[in-house]
Every structure is written in structure tokens, then in C-alpha cells.
Amino acid sequence: MTKHVLTGGLIAGLVAGLFAVLLQLTFVVPLLLEGELYESGDRVHFGTGGPESIAGAPAIDGEMMRHAGTLAMSLVSWIGFALLLVVGFALAARAGHSVDARKGAIWGLAGFIAVALAPAMGLAPELPGTIAAELGARQIWWSATVVLTAGGLAAFAFGKGPVAVFAGAVAIALPHIVGAPTLDTYFGVSPPELSAHFAARVLAVSAAIWVFLGAVAGWLWARPAPT
């Protein structure tokens, strides 16, 4: 069983990590590099006396070592998420719930909601150059939100009766009632269109990767374990 979990998590994580880098280098990193032009001051919004600045991302092929680092860290984190997802499959199996590719995709969607969508409600995806509240406090709020949202979704999916539904709803709502750590000042130097586009793309790409991961992990999970 442990071997099945570890192998499934490793393979699904590797495949999802490669898919993630493909999508992120295509859709997210160009906007990130464009944001860095404003972070460094090479471009200045409202800098010409009018409220406009040039749009357009720099070429992405200039820093291959940097993208290699992105690839490596993407594999590391998606293997991590894949392992947790497959541990979830195993715990569900203990409770008598089977998982296949289709159900795995639903699990992946839940992963997207817990790990990307819910934290983004308080801490929106940040372009480089964004100044935000103290890092440690944000990391704690982010982690607590992920755990509470995952727990709440699990209560919806597997809990019995109205009490489980109520407890799940409270868990999901709680971090947003408490509120994420924020500053009382805006410091943004990037055009709002660029920041908004970046945030939307991070979430959309994240949704695609999570569903893909869930489907691959579920498909692997449903295959017979080698004996």
C-alpha cells in the first residue's frame, strides 16, 4: 500500500509538474517578467505624464537557468501535492470510497479550491514588486486557509448529516472572517490591468494543473498494484 501511494504520488507529481511548467512558462511567466520591468523601474506606469505605459512582455528565452530552477521547484512542489492527494485516496479507500480518473479529477478540483482559490480570496496572486504584509504572517494565514478549506471540503464530501455540512462551512468561512494580513497602504507600481491579468491566469492555470493531477493520480490509483 505504501509503495502504491509513493509510486502513484511520484509519477503523478512528475507528470503534473511538467504540465505545470509548460502552462506557466506559456501563460504566467511572461506576465511575471513584464511585472519585473515595473518593479525595476525600467517601465513606469503614469511615467509619461499620462495614465499609460507600453504593454508587452519581454522575450522568455533569455534566462534558461532561471526557467530550469522553475522546472525543478515545480516538480518538487507538485510531487508534494500529489503525495498528499494520493494519501487522501488511500484514506478514502479505508472508508470504502473508490477513486478512478474521473473521481480523481473532482479531487483535483477540490485541491485547486483549497490550495489556490481560497487563499487567493485573502492573498491575491502577486506580481513581483508587490509590497504586502509581513511574509511569516501571510504564510501562516495561507497555510491555515489551505488546511481549513481542505478539511471543510472533506466534511462536505464524506461527512454525514447537517452537522458535518455546518462544520465544513464554518471551517471554509473562518479564515475569511478572520481576514488575511494586509497593509493599510497600496504600493503597486504595475498597471492594474497587468496585475489583474496575472492573478486571473495564475488561478486558471492552477485549476487546469490540479484537475490534470487529480485525473492522472486517480487513473494510476485505480490500476492494480504490482505484486
Binding site: M1, T2, H4, V5, L6, G9, A20, Q24, V28, V29, L32, R66, H67, G69, T70, A72, M73, S74, V76, S77, I79, G80, F81, A82, L83, L84, V86, V87, A90, L91, A93, R94, G96, S98, V99, D100, A116, P119, A120, L123, A124, P125, E126, L127, P128, T130, A132, L135, R138, Q139, W142, A199, V202, L203, V205, S206, W221, A222, P224, A225
Partner: protein, 64 residues
């Protein structure tokens, strides 16, 4: 060999339902997964931060 015949009816989707002794293995896998996510997403080490920078922003991990 008797184990095989006994576990076969308990199989779900092609493999055995985990029993008590599997919980330790699941805990190991979960801790390994959390460790990897911590390194990629949360470590304050400057070197790891620099390598992971674009990936952290792309994943909407809190960065900087």
C-alpha cells in the same frame, strides 16, 4: 500465500484497502509531501527562494 486469498475480496479498484499497519506508511508519505511543499514554497533560505521565485509567484505562494 494465505494472505493473498484473504485480501483478495477486500480489494477496491484493484488493490487492497489499507489496514492499520498502512497508516504509518501513509503518515510517511504525507510528511514527505508536506516537506517537499515546504521546501519549494516556504523555505526562507535565500538560495531556495531565488531558484523557486518564479514558481512561487506562479503558484500564488506568499513570496518576499
Amino acid at each position: 500465500m494465505t494472505t493473498r486469498t484473504q485480501t483478495a475480496p477486500m480489494q477496491t479498484a484493484g488493490h487492497a484497502v489499507p489496514k492499520g499497519r498502512d497508516l504509518a506508511g501513509l503518515a510517511f508519505a504525507a510528511i514527505l509531501g508536506l516537506g517537499l511543499i515546504f521546501v519549494a514554497g516556504f523555505s526562507h533560505s535565500q538560495t531556495i527562494h531565488d531558484v523557486a521565485h518564479d514558481q512561487r509567484h506562479s503558484m500564488a505562494f506568499p513570496c518576499h
